[in-house]
């Protein structure tokens, strides 16, 4: 079954930022959306999360229309936005509990969920610290943990490792890898090695259009490149594969 399907999905502000996007992502897959700045990746995520209305076209999340079934979709997805999205004056524990409360969990389920995510994301050492006092890497970790609280079937990670040092990035990679198979994951990133290391399939966007889709290996073969970075540059320069 397809977790995500878009049909000529278009967003126009003053200019067209997403142009007749036709994308299909299979359930359970980890899909990376790549592109240079302004390619339209974040706008695609925002439309699929029902944060932004499409100008034209349609999108479906697990068969639900992003135009008509926003409330249903909100119960199926988890989102970690590009900027870290935590409540700064709340502790890590309180941030996790806040999301549990918003999803209407019982006290018991809330405790279980907080414990489970604290262990999975190894948050014990910062558990009682206010979010605003944490480093960028820890905040991002908490932010992704919060995205998982609603037990999403589809998880959107918008630039999850942006601005992190190499160690923090590798630690987050491990965590993201551990999520594979538990949900369909749509990841946007600027880091090519991240997409190559984590994603089952990669889509490349340029000027709002999807110009290539395939596995990292398939994209390298199609462009005749020796490595994925060369393949990406070739795809973006030539505009289509």
């Amino acid at each position: 079954m397809q977790a995500i399907k878009t049909v000529n999905l278009t967003k126009k502000y003053k200019e067209v930022v997403v142009d007749k996007l036709n994308l299909q992502i299979v359930q359970g897959e980890m899909f990376a959306l790549l592109g240079v700045n302004g390619a339209g990746k974040t706008t695609v995520i925002k439309m699929l999360c029902c944060l932004t209305e499409p100008t034209e076209g349609e999108g479906f999340v697990l068969g639900n229309s992003i135009r008509q079934d926003g409330e249903k979709i909100k119960r199926l997805i988890g989102v970690s936005p590009q900027e870290t999205a935590v409540a700064p004056n709340l502790s890590v524990k309180e941030n996790l509990e806040l999301l549990c409360g918003l999803y209407g969990f019982s006290k018991q389920k809330r405790q279980e969920k907080v414990r489970e995510l604290t262990e999975r994301f190894r948050l014990q050492e910062v558990f009682l610290k206010k979010a605003k006092t944490l480093s960028g890497g820890w905040q991002r970790r908490v932010s992704i943990a919060m995205a998982l609280i609603g037990e999403p079937s589809v998880l959107f990670l918008d630039e999850p490792t942006l601005g992190l040092d190499v160690i923090a990035r590798r630690e987050l990679w491990e965590i993201i890898r551990s999520l594979k198979g538990k949900a369909t994951i749509i990841l946007t990133t600027h880091y090519l090695e991240e997409a190559e290391a984590l994603a089952d399939e990669i889509g490349v966007m340029k000027n709002g259009k999807l110009i290539a889709v395939g596995t990292a290996r398939a994209l390298m073969e199609r462009t005749g490149a020796d490595n994925f970075e060369e393949a990406f540059i070739s795809i973006v320069r030539e505009g289509q594969v």
Binding site: K74, L90, L102
Partner: protein, 243 residues
């Protein structure tokens, strides 16, 4: 239920910011102490404690707008609100969640003003309790203003508009610090057309026990509060859609 979860979070965010406590409680208390000291040396009718305390209790509420607007603007500028828009929270949950926790804080702020005023010589009387209850329309006005400004301004703009402009308007056009009739003319007419002076008069008359007259001053405050609430809800929903 979700409203209360969100409201609790908003309350914690505000109360855990030491600047909010300093301005929300500290500043009105300092004003009361300072002006009472001046009054002791240079008597001015306006600064007698039964006139001053109701004015400061209203003036202090202008900081409530600042807290509320800053929190909303910060949430909008960080990605937190974006995240929360993808949860099952509905528009009404957001609006009430932002407004609800500030109402008791505002009552506490007003109550503390009167408690300090007791220590400074304000006679303890049941009228003060009624005056506190009659803060409600004023509180709603200032809280709704917070929602409105928080929905359209950046954090920096909130600092300027609510932190400087609104507090100055609340000061100059309310008759707390000087008698508006001394200026007279267009200034007095403009002040009478705005809610600030009515809010202060509402409190002063309630403290003195003149409740029928006090309620007359409640009407313009309630009218402004209703208009601001409608505007604030409209603007909040508009920015929510724009996200």
């Amino acid at each position: 239920m979700r409203i209360f979860v969100f409201a609790k979070r908003c309350g914690k965010e505000i109360l855990r910011d030491p600047l909010n406590l300093a301005f929300g409680l500290g500043f009105p208390i300092v004003l009361l102490l300072l002006l009472t000291a001046i009054q002791a040396n240079v008597p001015v009718d306006l600064f007698q404690i039964q006139t001053l305390a109701p004015g400061v209790s209203v003036f202090g509420l202008s900081f409530i707008t600042l807290f509320s607007a800053t929190l909303i603007a910060k949430d909008r500028e960080s990605a937190l609100l974006q995240r929360l828009y993808t949860t099952p929270l509905k528009a009404v949950d957001f609006i009430l969640g932002y407004m609800l926790p500030i109402v008791p804080m505002a009552f506490v702020q007003g109550g503390i003003c009167y408690l300090v005023a007791f220590a400074l010589g304000l006679p303890i009387h049941v009228n003060i309790l009624y005056a506190c209850l009659l803060l409600f329309p004023v509180i709603i006005f200032y809280v709704a203003l917070g929602l409105l400004f928080g929905s359209i301004l950046t954090v920096k703009q909130v600092g300027g508009i609510c932190g400087a402009l609104l507090t100055n308007l609340s000061a100059w056009l309310s008759g707390v610090w000087f008698d508006l009739s001394l200026v007279g003319g267009a200034f007095e007419k403009i002040a009478s057309a705005l809610p600030f002076v009515h809010a202060v008069e509402l409190q002063r008359l309630a403290v003195s026990g003149a409740f029928p007259q006090a309620l007359l001053h409640a009407l313009p405050v309630l009218g402004y509060a209703a208009v601001i609430i409608v505007g604030a809800v409209f603007l909040f929903l508009r920015q929510m859609k724009k996200q």
